[in-house]
Symmetry: C2
Subunit: 403 residues, 2 copies
């Protein structure tokens, strides 16, 4: 099938594009290179030496004989170009990664809040409006987040998107209903994904669009079988306080001898998935679209849950790194449980890459291998959720800085 991957230059988008191309789909990447431009803004960069898109695509053609095309379009800003692309390409499916995806970045300042809302909401609405205007029956698969559910559960595994509830009528009768799981987002970024959900529900109902929303856990790991083929295909690895996700930051901190920075008590439980499983899940989602007229199909794209301090201790044991408890720059409960269903992808045949099996590879083959490229100043999480909070910088490091 022909697939357009919006945001195909990013951390999830690039390996997904390669995988979809590898399994035989005709792939067109759309990206405005915003993630690379944000690196410039933050004076940070991928630990791994990612190549420009032109080089990536040439290397893939050379190695696989397959052609991936690239269009530099800002889908949040340039609706006309997006619509023209759909009319020209007539894709069977669109994978939508084209959103600002870091919670800390979305909280840095008023500008960053506004950019995240404006970019993410307009990107999603433009894609939906363009599919309707094109008159084509295109399946849209979107990358959502487990964060739409909020971080707590009331003694129940989080279902896949929809919650069974009972309400009591004015006559005292009990009525059962199924509703979109009530949201409780933990940042402006996460909030934009809850807005996306309402856009999807509306267009699925009014325009009978076929939409899959993948509520993804925190992605860890770097490479996939495809990006491992050649260093020119290497995927990005973020370790900075804004874009580095918790597990990858720990791996990197261990590799360079920086303390593993645990926010607050580290009692937050998070859902995880390896990047290799991400790309397989997207493949499975594209192979199993909802029918036209069906409600939005929501799948939880995660394979295990862990408490953050347990992860830090595990990596500490594995590598000898020290664990440092620092102020939590986020506004959230200190401790939470998280149990979630992921039956849908397991039923479709997903075989999860476990943390236990994959962790050491990441430390040795990525974090240690490229550690000389690291900028230690970028490691602390400096974005705070409110003005009253302090950034997550460990005492040991503060002392070093003042020495």
């Amino acid at each position: 099938m022909k697939v357009i991957v919006l945001g195909g230059d990013g951390f999830c988008g690039w390996p997904t594009s390669l995988h979809l191309s590898n399994v035989g789909h005709d792939v067109v990447i759309v990206d405005n290179l915003s993630r690379r431009n944000i690196d410039n803004e933050l004076e940070a960069g991928s630990l791994t030496p990612i190549r420009p898109m032109g080089q990536r695509i040439r290397a893939w053609r050379e190695l696989s004989g397959k052609e991936i095309r690239f269009e530099n379009i800002d889908v949040a800003q340039d609706y006309a170009a997006l619509l023209a692309l759909l009319e020209r390409e007539r894709p069977d499916a669109i994978v939508h990664f084209a959103e600002q995806r870091a919670a800390p970045y979305s909280m840095k300042s008023s500008w960053h809040k506004r950019y995240t809302v404006d970019n993410n909401v307009n990107a999603t609405n433009n894609v939906l409006a363009a599919i309707v205007e094109s008159g084509q029956d295109i399946h849209l698969a979107h990358l959502g987040t487990m964060g739409v559910y909020g971080y707590g559960t009331a003694g129940m595994k989080i279902p896949e998107g929809y919650l069974d509830i009972e309400v009591t009528t004015d006559e005292g009768e009990r009525v059962q209903q199924q509703i979109l799981y009530p949201t409780n987002p933990g940042s402006i970024y996460h909030m934009t994904k809850t807005l996306d959900q309402l856009l999807f529900a509306y267009y699925a109902k009014n325009d009978r669009l076929r939409i899959t929303d993948l509520h993804q856990g925190i992605v860890w790991g770097t490479n996939t079988p495809e990006t491992n083929l050649d260093e020119r295909l290497i995927n990005r690895f973020d370790y900075d306080g804004d874009y580095g996700t918790v597990l990858n930051r720990f791996l990197m901190q261990a590799a360079v001898g920086y303390p593993l920075t645990v926010h607050g008590t580290g009692g937050q439980t998070r859902a995880f998935i390896h990047i290799t499983d991400t790309v397989k899940c997207v493949e499975l989602a594209l192979a199993n679209p909802p029918a036209r007229g069906e409600r939005v199909k929501i799948l939880n794209q995660m394979t295990e849950t862990h408490r953050v301090r347990d992860l830090a201790e595990l990596i500490g044991k594995l590598t000898g790194a020290e664990v440092a408890y620092v102020p939590n720059p986020r506004r959230e409960d200190a401790e939470n449980d998280l149990h979630a269903r992921n039956d849908a992808f397991l039923d479709l045949g997903l075989e999860p890459t476990t943390l236990e099996a994959g962790l050491l590879t990441e430390v040795t083959e990525v974090a240690r291998r490229y550690k000389d490229r690291a900028d230690m100043d970028k490691i602390p999480a400096t974005s705070t959720w409110t003005r009253e909070q302090r950034p997550g910088i460990p005492e040991q490091v503060k002392k070093l800085e003042h020495a």
Copy 2:
């Protein structure tokens, strides 16, 4: 108190500004005149001869001795000007009407969908981000819509914003929770108000902003005691297929001898409120803000519910006008019930203006008085919710057009 009214040139915003000024508040109107500009786009206009803002304000000063200031700012686009205004004025409260508010307009085309989402979401997010950045404790009162609840109820009066539910845990235990009422918006416009709700919930939680969300029914009527003081203060009256709300369109159609156009079976039940009550509700909401740290205070701002066909028949009887059933250009259930609580405003002392008491005044003093200003071509509802639907033009009129 000092109050900034965003969207203070509009149908609800203008009489609200006058009323708040009249009861002694210091009022600053912010508006980008978008509603007047949309009149230009649609080649439609207010039935009543509304004056430019400068004239309106001069007349008010002359009559009341009170000063209302006006700033032409696009709050969705010009964040810097909005923030500077908050820093200069240091208001106690902001009333937020600054959104595109017509469901049919939001469905006219892809451009109109995109404009409505972009304008409404960014206006709301900019206001919230500016309040946070200003560091001030400003109460925000926003005009939402009863449409966020969807058009059906399951044998229960719609509560004010929050729904009591029961969920069953994995151990079979029943747990009670209270959630934001699940949404089911009927148009892109209504959907933007469901997005607003999630923005409010987030900023109330993370930044402890004090926010009131007023879920308003369909506003009918034209003038308030203040706008009635002088013709230069007159409020707008929309009768066109996009901006004219159902009751005002019927009044106008009756006045000019056009059939009363009922969409579908007219079985849709809608909530209503008179413009005089709207302005009083806003006054009451400002006098009763939520505490800092409290969740968003949601009030239903409506006073009665009616089935559309009953309204048409009532006005038909009152005026002798013919009722015409036309295709429903909207995508919605043919028939629905609607019962909603409005205890909060009644408890605060609101004394509703009833349809029964006010209808005839509107027909004689507004619709008949200004009927020569009407453009008959603008009366039919031509915006459809999907490509497959037909506009709501009565057969009688089609025949006339082809004669």
